[in-house]
C-alpha cells in the first residue's frame, strides 16, 4: 500500500535572517601566532645574517661547474629511473610467475637490494674490481669471447647507473606488482577466454589498467631519485652536490655552495611536482575515466601545451 505524502509550505527557519556566531578556535589562533613569529624570525635571519653570503650564492648559482653538475644529476636521474622502471616491470612479472625459480629469484633480488644501504651498493659497484679484477663475456664455465679489466669497465658512471638503477628496480618491482595485482582477475580471465596470448594479455589488457596504480608512486620515486643521485658524490661522480663540494673544498664557502645546490634541487623538484600533480590528477579520477594509453597521453600533453600558450 502506498500513501501520498502531502506537500505543505510550512515556514522554515532561515539561516540568512538569523545571526550566526561562528565557533572560536582559540587553539588555532595560538598556533597561527606562534608560526607567524617563527616564520618572521627565519626570514629575518635569512636576510640579516651575513654568513649566508647571498652574494656568493648568486655568484656561483650559474657557474659552469654547477651547471655541468646539474646536467649530470638530471641525466643520471632519468637513466637510473629508466633502468629501474624496465627492470622493475620485468621483476614484477617474474615475481608473479607460477614458476618458483623465476618468482623466487625476483623476490630474492628485491629482498637483497631493498635490504642493503644504497650507499654501500654504490661503493661496492665502484670497487667491483677488487672482487673480480677481470670481467668477461662468454659461455658459462666455457670459452670467453670478450674480457677486460674491471677497472676500465666500471667507471664511476657505470657504477652509479648500476647502483642507482638496480636499487630502483627493486622498489619499482613492488610498485608494478601492486599495480598488476590491482587489476581485477576477471580481466585476465576474459582475455584468456578469448584465446589471447599471455604476452598480449599483459601488454594490452593488464599493464594499461595497472598504470592507474603504478604512475602516482612512480612520480614520487622520480622525485626521490633526483635527490638520491647525490649519493654518487661518494664515488666522486661530479653531480650537482659533488660539484658544489669541489668548489667549496677549494674556496671554503661551504654554506653558500650548499645553498646553491639546494636551490637547484628545489627548482627541479618543484617542476617535477607540478608535472606529478597533473599526471596524478589524470589518473586518480580514472575510475570513471578511460585509463592510460599512449594516444591519450599525447592528447593530454598537446592540450596542456595549448592551454599553456593560450
Amino acid at each position: 500500500m502506498t500513501t501520498p505524502i502531502p506537500t505543505t509550505d510550512q515556514p522554515k527557519p532561515d539561516l540568512a535572517t538569523l545571526q550566526v556566531a561562528p565557533t572560536r578556535h582559540y587553539g588555532r589562533w595560538f598556533g597561527t601566532a606562534v608560526l607567524l613569529v617563527l616564520v618572521a624570525m627565519l626570514v629575518h635571519t635569512l636576510f640579516t645574517n651575513p654568513r649566508f653570503q647571498w652574494t656568493v650564492v648568486a655568484e656561483y648559482f650559474t657557474t659552469p661547474t654547477i651547471i655541468e653538475g646539474l646536467f649530470n644529476t638530471l641525466w643520471l636521474t632519468a637513466a637510473a629511473m629508466a633502468i629501474g622502471i624496465v627492470l622493475g616491470t620485468v621483476l614484477a612479472i617474474m615475481r608473479l610467475s607460477p614458476n618458483p625459480v623465476l618468482s623466487g629469484s625476483a623476490a630474492t633480488f628485491v629482498w637483497f637490494f631493498r635490504g642493503t644501504p644504497l650507499l654501500v651498493q654504490l661503493i661496492f659497484w665502484f670497487n667491483l674490481s677488487a672482487l673480480y679484477p677481470k670481467l668477461s663475456l662468454g659461455i658459462p664455465f666455457g670459452p670467453e669471447f670478450i674480457s677486460g679489466s674491471a677497472n676500465e669497465f666500471i667507471t664511476v658512471y657505470v657504477a652509479a647507473l648500476l647502483g642507482l638503477g638496480l636499487n630502483e628496480g627493486a622498489y619499482m618491482a613492488e610498485i608494478v606488482r601492486a599495480g598488476i595485482n590491482s587489476v581485477h582477475s576477471g580481466q585476465r580471465e576474459a582475455a584468456e577466454a578469448l584465446g589471447m596470448s599471455s604476452r598480449r594479455i599483459l601488454t594490452r589488457i593488464i599493464l594499461p589498467q595497472a598504470m592507474r596504480v603504478i604512475i602516482p608512486p612512480t612520480g614520487n620515486q622520480l622525485i626521490g631519485m633526483l635527490k638520491t643521485t647525490s649519493l654518487v658524490s661518494v664515488i666522486a661522480l661530479p653531480d650537482l652536490l659533488y660539484s658544489a663540494q669541489m668548489i667549496y673544498s677549494s674556496n671554503f664557502q661551504t654554506i653558500p655552495l650548499l645553498i646553491v645546490a639546494s636551490i637547484w634541487y628545489l627548482i627541479v623538484t618543484t617542476i617535477l611536482s607540478i608535472g606529478q600533480y597533473f599526471v596524478e590528477r589524470r589518473f586518480s579520477k580514472s575510475d570513471n575515466k578511460p585509463a592510460f594509453t599512449l594516444a591519450r597521453l599525447k592528447k593530454t600533453v598537446t592540450n596542456g601545451q595549448r592551454e599553456a600558450t593560450a
Binding site: H184, G186, Q187, E189, A190, A191, E192, A193, L194, G195, M196, S197, S198, R200, R204, I205, P208, Q209, N288, P290, A291, F292, T293
Partner: protein
C-alpha cells in the same frame, strides 16, 4: 589422471564429460560430472550457490584444470593431447587456440574498461585470428547491430548500462565466431528491467542454432529455450531432463526443494 581409454570421437557431440572431477586445495567441488551436449542444443545448468556450476563452465574452456575424468569439446580433449596412448599437456598457445573457439560470457561482464566498445570487440579477432582491422571492424559493427547497440562503437564500457555492457560482452565473444557459447549467470548482476534485453539476444542466438551452456536462475528462459536442464548439487548432476518435465515433476527431493525456492 584416470582417463578412460576411449579414443572414439563422436562428432555430433559438442561437449562430452565423463566422470569429471575438480578439487580446490583438497576440497572436491566437482565430484563426478557426466553429461553430453549435442551440437546446436541449449543446456541450462541450475543449482544452489556453491554447487560448482561456475567451476564446471570454467573447466570446459580450461580456465580451471580438471583433476580427473575426461572432458572433450568438439571431439578434442580439453587441456591435453593424446599421442601414442599417452596424454600430453597442451602448451599455452594450443590451449589459447582451443579457447578461441569457445565464447564465454561472465556474470560481471568483464569488458575491458580502458578500451572502447569497438576496441573491446575487435581486440581478439585481430590479435588471435589475425584478421585485418577493416574486416574486424565491419564484423564488429554487424554484431553490435545484432545485439541492438548500433552506433555505440566509441562508448567506453562505464558509459553503458549493465544490460548494454552484457550485450557488448556477448558481441565480443561472438566476434571470435565460436562453436560453443558458455554463459555464467549472464543476467544475475542486472537490474530486473534490464534482464529481458540480454535474454532476448541469447534467445536469438539459440534460435540460430548456437550450442550453448547457460548457468542461470532464469527458469522462464530455461523453460522457453533449453533443450535440456541440468540440476547440479554437491558436485554431482542430480537430475537432468527436458525443462517442462523437470519443472513440473522433479524426480528428486533436492531438486524439488531448489525449484520450490526459486520458482
Amino acid at each position: 589422471m584416470n582417463a578412460p581409454a576411449t579414443t572414439a570421437v563422436e562428432s555430433d557431440v559438442a561437449v562430452e564429460c565423463v566422470a569429471v572431477q575438480k578439487s580446490f586445495d583438497g576440497t572436491p567441488v566437482l565430484k563426478s560430472i557426466d553429461l553430453s551436449v549435442p551440437h546446436g542444443q541449449v543446456m541450462c545448468v541450475i543449482g544452489p550457490s556453491g554447487s560448482g556450476k561456475s567451476t564446471f563452465l570454467r573447466c570446459i574452456n580450461h580456465l580451471e584444470r580438471i583433476d580427473g575424468g575426461l572432458l572433450r569439446v568438439a571431439g578434442e580433449m580439453v587441456g591435453y593431447r593424446e599421442h601414442k596412448g599417452r596424454l600430453h599437456e597442451l602448451r599455452h598457445h594450443e590451449i589459447a587456440r582451443r579457447r578461441a573457439d569457445i565464447g564465454m560470457v561472465f556474470q560481471s561482464f568483464n569488458l575491458f574498461p580502458h578500451l572502447t566498445v569497438l576496441e573491446n570487440i575487435i581486440e581478439a579477432p585481430m590479435a588471435v585470428r589475425k584478421n585485418q582491422r577493416d574486416d574486424a571492424v565491419a564484423d564488429a559493427r554487424r554484431l553490435l547491430d545484432k545485439v541492438g547497440l548500433t552506433g555505440r562503437e566509441d562508448a567506453y564500457p562505464r558509459m553503458l548500462s549493465g544490460g548494454q555492457q552484457q550485450r557488448v560482452a556477448i558481441a565480443r565473444a561472438l566476434a571470435m565466431r565460436p562453436k560453443l557459447m558458455l554463459f555464467d549467470e549472464p543476467t544475475s548482476a542486472l537490474d530486473p528491467e534490464l534482464v529481458g534485453e540480454v535474454l532476448s539476444v541469447m534467445k536469438e542466438l539459440a534460435a540460430e542454432g548456437m550450442t550453448m551452456i547457460v548457468v542461470t536462475h532464469e527458469l522462464g528462459f530455461a523453460r522457453e529455450v533449453a533443450d535440456t536442464v541440468v540440476f547440479m548439487d554437491g558436485g554431482y548432476i542430480v537430475e537432468q531432463g527436458a525443462p517442462a518435465e523437470m519443472f513440473a515433476n522433479p524426480q528428486t527431493e533436492r531438486c524439488r526443494d531448489f525449484l520450490g525456492k526459486v520458482l
